[in-house]
Amino acid sequence: MTLKELILSAALSPLVLFAQGNGVAPSEILKPLKDSWPTYNGDYSGKRYSALTQVDQTNVMHLTLAWMTRVTPGQTSGPGGRGGRAPAAVIVGGEGPGDINVGGGTIKASALEVDGVLYFTMPDNAWAVDARDGSELWHYFWKTKGGTHIGNRGLGMWNSFLFMETPDDYLVSLDSKTGKERWHKPIADLAQGYFSTPAPVVVGNHVLVGTGNDLDAPGMLQSFDPETGDLQWKFYTVPMNPGDPGLNTWASLDAARHGGGQAWVPGAYDPDTKLYIFSTGNPTPAFTNGTRGEGDNLFTCALIALNVDTGKMAWYYSTSPHDMHDYDSAQTPVLVDGMFNGKMRKMVLTAARNGYWFTLDRLTGEHLVTSKYGLLTNWSDKLTKAGGPYPDAEKNATIAGSLVSPTSDGTTNWEPPSYSPDTGLFYVAESDDYSIFYLTDLDPRGSMGLGGKDEVQVGSGGSFLTAIDYRTGEVKWRRPYYGQGGGGGMLTTAGKLLFAGDGAGNLVAHDVVTGKPLWNTRIGWVTNPAQTFMLDGRQYVIAATGDTLWAFVLY
């Protein structure tokens, strides 16, 4: 090595290290959310509360656009980012024929921010962009075999490797530096109607992978080895064999094995107990109970806590026992340590799609609070002994029609909520809409999947940014939305701010105490949850609208 080379390499190597980094060591994700965004919810708690304080109530009105970038899904590269660099060449993978035109896509993903790079997805597509200017660094495209292309929640990261699920049910691992594929592994059978939308969650040396299905197939959560992609364990959310727990809540083993309960949404993780806590979707058939009986249909519409090393269930709690309206309980659970009845408790909180709120002890699953937070929720007339709302038979789908709130889209949906320890409040987008549910399939054998009914939405009783006190389940305040309800999900920060789309074309910063709007920018309908990170001493706030990602900063 010449002297010149030596000087050059000495000068360059820290720069290279700084620019590329080593990705996300599993221990990094154990830290509370602050400078980077290394996993779907930022950290494992699901709070989406950032400790960053540079942007606060006194200066948020000066938050301004740093950059925006528009991405083009598919096999041909688009116009590229607005950072002045040419678009990256598209790296193509996948087992499909390559001639299935999926059309445009929407960024519903939470981006990962690691070492100055943002990683995010649309169905079949993953991008890395420079977090300083939005320039595309690489674009990976997966040729699909099919499956429902409704959304993709983002990537998981283990050291320098990324993981993405595809609508045709593969887990794909990419090298984060180049976007090149390391391997892909089948995670479910597309022919049985499975399609995959979740962001994989990395815990230690486990890649936790959920899937979805609308066709009477059993739900499951699987764990894969991040190095090899080998299956470590598979947990079915419904009884699959004689003697399995929960079987007595179904009319038959066959009904249970076709009972649904999909793991649509990434869960939360408690490192002290090694419990991964996630939620499950509706039982099938969704609207008729011909085959599934009158029982609770475990473990659909439930919170489930699994030991992350073994995949064995520690506890469950049924948030919508015997659901009859397709109210998946597929929401992000939020882990909170706080006072409850004068004692510090480790809790898990969820505002379920069915309009009910739950506070549970997350060590045991012990039920602490049930409340109705959906203002007009009218489908249940009783709680089970365990505190879960049970359907009023009069409000199930009927031939002549039942007028029910909420609609099957729910009081809230997949959009992640947020919890601020500064206020002790849980923030969620609430929609109080009505549908008429008609029973159209009178076959005593019951129907299938989401069939057998006709649902017609007939009006809205309003939509709100809603703040809930976990200690009582009481709604502390509701701030009306003018558009179609909140967009994308919630973010709170130690700057005492709450960022969210307002459903009327704005990204808004609210006072986290009162909900009062303090700043807005008219970037369009926000399609993912707002996020924040620190780079070069500046706090960035990012959010997506459709195919465009926007970054805001204080100068």
Binding site: P97, I100, T106, I150, D189, L215, T398, I399, G401, M448
Partner: protein, 303 residues
């Protein structure tokens, strides 16, 4: 289930509101009249799309026909003519994971030949070629499953939604609806204009339109038009059709065809929204299902 329904519902309101006379006004409104707050989200939610889950070449019709015949002979009594399970209690083949995953009889044919006798499926004597034919027929029916697991149509008309009491419906109408509506005025002939009772129920409960999200801003001249009065700090006020409102801006269309946008700072300017549909939305929380069925039964008589 994830929120697939949003896209499906985009088509629904259009279908249902065509029947309503004053929707014509909305359809002929100038493009600029579309409220941006309502149109932007719809455009976003429309993107993406359903890709068929089972991309398979169509089967051989001759083989499928033979399979259908054999199915009718040997399988119907247990699995049903429609594959959804028969009188003798065989499982529903439409949601059978074996049937869904089968490619060329490799999963189904061994079961026909006796692989599952332990769980009650008898061996059915059949040549390997015939086993494949039955599998081809089963796959051909499975391929007709609709989105989100909707079973194939069995060709029966939907049962009538008319279960209400006409007299009770008339009384309810008189007490709750007659302040705005009249059976001899705006609703004369409503059951002729909307001849399907179910569509009629959807239309009247939704207040003449089935937009999911309120307030529906409406088009110029529509009965549903939301009006707004904006009063500035100076006391000056303007009134017109509400085009768009959020926490930060409010836009009003004026009588002269122009529009004005005001920045909102808390309570300034003062904004009074007059939404004629508010009563309809408020009633959603008041109707019992019996009220709803009774009023529908009554409205069906207004030919």
């Amino acid at each position: 289930m994830v929120r697939v329904k949003n896209w499906l519902l985009i088509a629904l309101p259009t279908l249902l509101t065509i029947a309503v006379a004053d929707h014509a006004a909305a359809q002929t409104a100038p493009p600029g009249a579309t409220p941006p707050a309502a149109s932007v989200p719809t455009a976003v939610r429309r993107s993406g799309g359903l890709v068929p889950g089972q991309k398979r070449p169509p089967g051989d019709p001759v083989q499928i026909e033979r399979g259908k015949t054999l199915y009718g002979i040997s399988c119907t009594s247990c699995h049903g003519a429609d594959l959804r399970g028969g009188d003798l209690g065989g499982p529903n083949l439409l949601r059978s994971q074996v049937a869904l995953s089968d490619q060329d009889g490799e999963l189904i044919a061994p079961i026909i030949q006796g692989a599952r006798q332990n769980s009650g499926m008898p061996a059915v004597p059949m040549s390997p070629a015939d086993g494949k034919a039955v599998a081809a027929y089963v796959r051909s029916v499975v391929a007709t499953i609709g989105t989100q697991g909707k079973p194939p149509s069995i060709g029966k008309p939907a049962p009538s939604v008319l279960v209400g009491d006409v007299t009770a419906g008339q009384a309810y109408f008189a007490s709750k609806c007659a302040s705005c509506h009249s059976p001899t005025g705006d609703l004369a002939g409503i059951a002729t204009r909307v001849s399907d009772p179910k569509a009629l129920q959807n239309v009247w409960v939704g207040g003449g339109r089935n937009r999911r999200f309120g307030p529906t801003l409406g088009a110029p001249g529509s009965r549903h038009t939301v009006m707004v009065t904006i009063t500035e700090a100076s006391g000056e006020s303007v009134e017109g059709r509400l085009v768009r409102i959020d926490d930060f801006l409010v836009t009003v269309a004026l009588a002269d065809g122009t529009s004005r946008t005001f920045r909102r700072e808390g309570d300034i300017p003062k904004v009074d929204v007059h939404d004629p549909m508010k009563m309809h939305r408020d009633l959603l929380a008041a109707y019992t299902d019996k009220d709803m069925h009774d009023v529908t039964a009554y409205l069906v008589t207004l030919k």
